[in-house]
Amino acid sequence: MRILWFVLSPLMALAVGLFFLGLSRRFMARIQWRVGPPLYQPLIDILRQFTQKSVSHGPLFDLGVVLSLASSFIVVLFMPLGGTAPLSSSGGLLAVLYLMLLGPLGIALSGGEAANPNVSIGISRKLILAVGYEVPFLMIVLALMTYYGTISIGEIVAAQRESASAIASFPLVFSGIAYLLILPAMLGVRPFEVVGAAQEISSGPAAEYGGPYLALATIQHGLTMFIGISLFVNLLWGGASNPVVFFLKMLVVFAFGFWVNAAFPRLRVEQAVRYLWRWPTLIAFVGLILVATIGR
């Protein structure tokens, strides 16, 4: 069964990630009173990009983007997607926290070799934004790990299945709210779309990407979305017993995230960090204090 999941979960992540990409465009179009592209438009784009003849700036330019995508797939292997996670005993949530940063880091290394200042600015913003949302995010994750006394995602899911899901239980409700507040930042959508700001810094880290590079970066973006949402579902919404329910739960969270995306304009990066360090951090901090003092 586990072997099967090894193949299934990356595929599921890929499919759902791309679906989310398409859905997000459709969703936005509908909110803006447009028809919007078909749901499979990202597939067409990726196919088109794959067959375009791009330029390469060096070996690291290729390797970085590959590393980024591969590490995103590895993170997926740590997630129980309505079943057991394929890599459940390899470092748990702590390893996930680290692996999640490999995605941006791969893009950053690759983009760095492109020698384009737009890329550098984008990366600089990405890292700053990450510092911004990591503060509440770490507090949330630590509150969860401390509360359930484990660092394994699977056990956190299992523990929620026994009692109520985390977002519905007393001290952890703060963590849940804080997570929802930082979700757009983690997904990289408006109002936190400072990294790939198309009109301002020519889509930032992806400025030099064309052809297959762009295709891989697009897939990676989809996976990032998938990971951010599935983390919420697993850690705070009790996971799911089968993939279908899991997918439905993800869909709800996704809808929230993109409603925010459509409803708000973009912030500057300092404004974003200032926001992230104010309300979400405060709420997450309250949650952490409650967990540390009251406990389970």
């Binding site: 060096g58 470092g91 052809g211």
Partner: protein
């Protein structure tokens, strides 16, 4: 293998190196490498041994003893290996500089003194070697002149304060127990009063904390590390400051003892918790100061302070996992930080001493191997899975979380995100981005530089993939301290509450990379272009101007810089100013007018007699 012989080779080698330098530079270089290699071999042959040998009858009635056990072996092997690599690295780096004989001799002396420190079997010889280490380090830090002078001075004064505190501690112990050998002192300590133990811990803690640069004793480290010659910075950051860690481990778990240490405190404030909190502060503050540094070595220096915080946090938290994590992190930090300093050294060597992050860039095209090892080193520093830093940090985080200390864990984890910021800045500003025109004909780093860097980077990955190798050694040490054994497997830790298995990750990573690579290659082939063909909104790329590295984190800087003043350092500097002012004021007592002087004499006499007649106090 006798320990005395080891030290004789080490110290004698240092002296002979200097003398040989007067004969021939080539012979001296070869000899220095040979000696440092011999030390590695000799230390390695001591693996698993545990014995003591008295080597000096009685220094003022205090016998000096050497000993070896697992703990000292671990530090000794790290010191000798890093020393050896640093000597090899110096061969290229020091070529054509002046006073090289002095440099090599002092480098070997520092290594010898470090070996002496870790092999000491009693506190007095520990102190003697400690002092030799301090002054030889001072000479090497000052070696470059210019700003290095102030750095050396700061180092010396702070380290001297520390070692004098340690002297007071050593002599207090001698006064109480009449012996300075570790076993004897440990036996005495077990029945000592908590207040006494605490006082001793504080006295020694100042010394070890200063060497290990924990907040607030860190002020000497950034200038010293950045101004010293780069191969020596590697030793300094890699192993020398870890002598403080050795001291802490020795003090806490060998001399004071685990149980006493954990229960020590004033009222409800436990000593080890306070130390852990200091460790957490030491992680956070320097990490964020490092982000805004523009000097590559100063950035690494601040990072060293921060990483030392992890080590202190680990060992002072006092669970078997955390102490193992702390010790492992010491080893890892020694490896990757030495590697990174060597990287800067190689860059400095090829760019004639430029280490300003704002004026470098694009060197990946000219120094690809150096870049690869730099990436590996940085990954270790961040703690990317499958590098050594991940395992040690993982151990520390895990125990912090499971022991319900989420705030300490937060400091540690958040510090890691800061680490990513400055690490990426380090890589980006040196190696990525546009290659300036003036470096277009730069050569690769010479072989003598690449060799040590490659060895270290292999170790980073090896310890990351098979952490069981060092952890087995560390586990034995932990057991000898009285901790329960970790269940070490070659690829990690077996445990009920979240295991670690690096092989799984390795396989997943390899498969993932191969699959994605295949998919990537199945797309259209791309054309290789140079850095001039980059998107510039339709314009041609302007030479030497198309770069974004100055003030890399400007928005964050605007937000945080006001809160990131190193107020401890400014306090010390102000203190030094006050002392000088005081001296200047006191100097005015000596007016130069002999009438005043005669008056002093007579007044003194008069006061003496008056006081005696009036109150007869004597």
């Amino acid at each position: 293998m006798s320990l005395g012989l080891l030290l004789i080779v080490a110290f004698g080698g240092s002296l002979l190196t200097y003398l040989l330098g007067k004969v021939s530079a080539r012979t001296r270089d070869a000899f220095a490498v040979l000696i440092s290699l011999a030390l590695v071999v000799m230390v390695a042959s001591l693996y698993g041994k545990a014995f003591r040998v008295p080597f000096y009858g009685g220094f003022l009635g205090m016998p000096l003893v050497l000993r070896i056990d697992g703990l000292s072996w671990l530090f000794a092997i790290a010191a000798s290996v890093l020393g050896c690599l640093s000597v090899v690295f110096s061969l290229g780096y020091m070529k054509g500089k002046e006073r090289t004989s002095f440099y090599y001799s002092m480098l070997l002396l520092v290594i010898a003194a470090m070996l002496g420190v870790v092999l000491s079997g009693d506190l007095l010889s520990l102190f003697i070697f400690w002092e030799i280490m301090s002054w030889s380090t001072f000479l090497l830090i000052s070696y470059n002149g210019g700003p290095a002078l102030a750095a050396g001075m700061k180092y010396f004064v702070m380290s001297f304060v520390g070692s004098l505190a340690m002297l007071a501690g050593v002599l207090t112990l001698h006064g109480s127990f009449g012996t300075l050998e570790f076993t004897g002192v440990a036996a005495g300590m077990s029945s000592a009063s908590p207040g006494y133990v605490l006082a001793i811990l504080v006295l020694f803690g100042v010394a070890f904390g200063t060497k290990n640069a924990i907040w607030p004793f860190h002020a000497w480290l950034p200038p010293a590390h950045s101004e010293a010659p780069s191969p020596f910075s590697a030793v300094l950051s890699g192993i020398l400051i870890k002598m403080g860690v050795y001291g802490f481990l020795l003090l806490m778990f060998v001399i004071v003892g685990l149980r006493t240490f954990l229960s020590l405190g004033v009222g409800r404030i436990e000593f080890h918790t306070v130390l852990s909190i200091i460790g957490a502060i030491t992680i956070l503050l320097p990490t964020f100061i490092a982000i805004f540094q523009n000097d590559a070595k100063r950035l690494l220096a601040w990072s060293t302070v921060a990483q030392a915080g992890y080590i202190i946090l680990g060992i002072s938290f006092g669970t078997s996992l955390s102490v193992a994590g702390g010790m492992f992190h010491f080893l890892n930090h020694a490896v990757f930080k030495a590697l990174l300093f060597m990287v800067v050294g190689a860059v400095e060597y090829r760019t004639n001493g430029v280490r300003d992050l704002d004026s470098l860039g694009g060197l990946i095209k000219r120094m690809p191997v150096t870049f690869i090892v730099a990436v590996i080193g940085v990954c270790g520093l961040i703690g990317v899975p499958l590098t050594n830093g991940f395992v040690s940090k993982w151990l520390i985080y895990k125990t912090l979380i499971l022991e319900r200390s989420p705030f300490l864990a937060f400091a540690a984890l958040f510090g890691t995100w800061g680490t990513i910021l400055y690490s990426y800045k380090f890589l980006h500003n040196i190696f990525l981005g546009q290659l300036p025109q003036r470096y277009e004909d730069m050569e690769r780093a010479p072989f003598t530089m690449l060799l040590p860097m490659t060895i270290l980077s292999v170790v980073v990955v090896l310890f990351g993939v098979l952490p069981g190798i060092p952890l087995a050694v560390i586990d034995t040490i932990g057991v000898s301290f009285g901790f329960e054994s970790l269940h070490v497997t070659p690829w990690g830790i077996a445990s009920d509450t979240g295991a670690l298995n690096t092989v799984n990750m390795l396989v997943a990573a390899l498969v993932g990379l191969v699959v994605v690579w295949c998919v990537f290659r199945s797309g259209a082939r791309s054309v290789s272009v140079g850095q001039a063909d980059s998107y510039a909104a339709g314009a041609a790329v302007p030479r030497d101007k198309y770069q974004y590295s100055v003030r890399f984190y400007a928005p964050l800087r605007r937000m945080m810089a006001p809160y990131l003043k190193d107020f401890v350092d400014s306090f010390y500097m102000r203190l030094a100013g006050w002392v000088r002012g005081l001296g200047d004021g006191l100097r005015r007592i000596y007016t130069g007018y002999v009438g005043d002087y005669v008056m002093y004499i007579l007044v003194f006499l008069a006061v003496l007699i008056f006081v005696q007649i009036a109150w007869s106090p004597w």
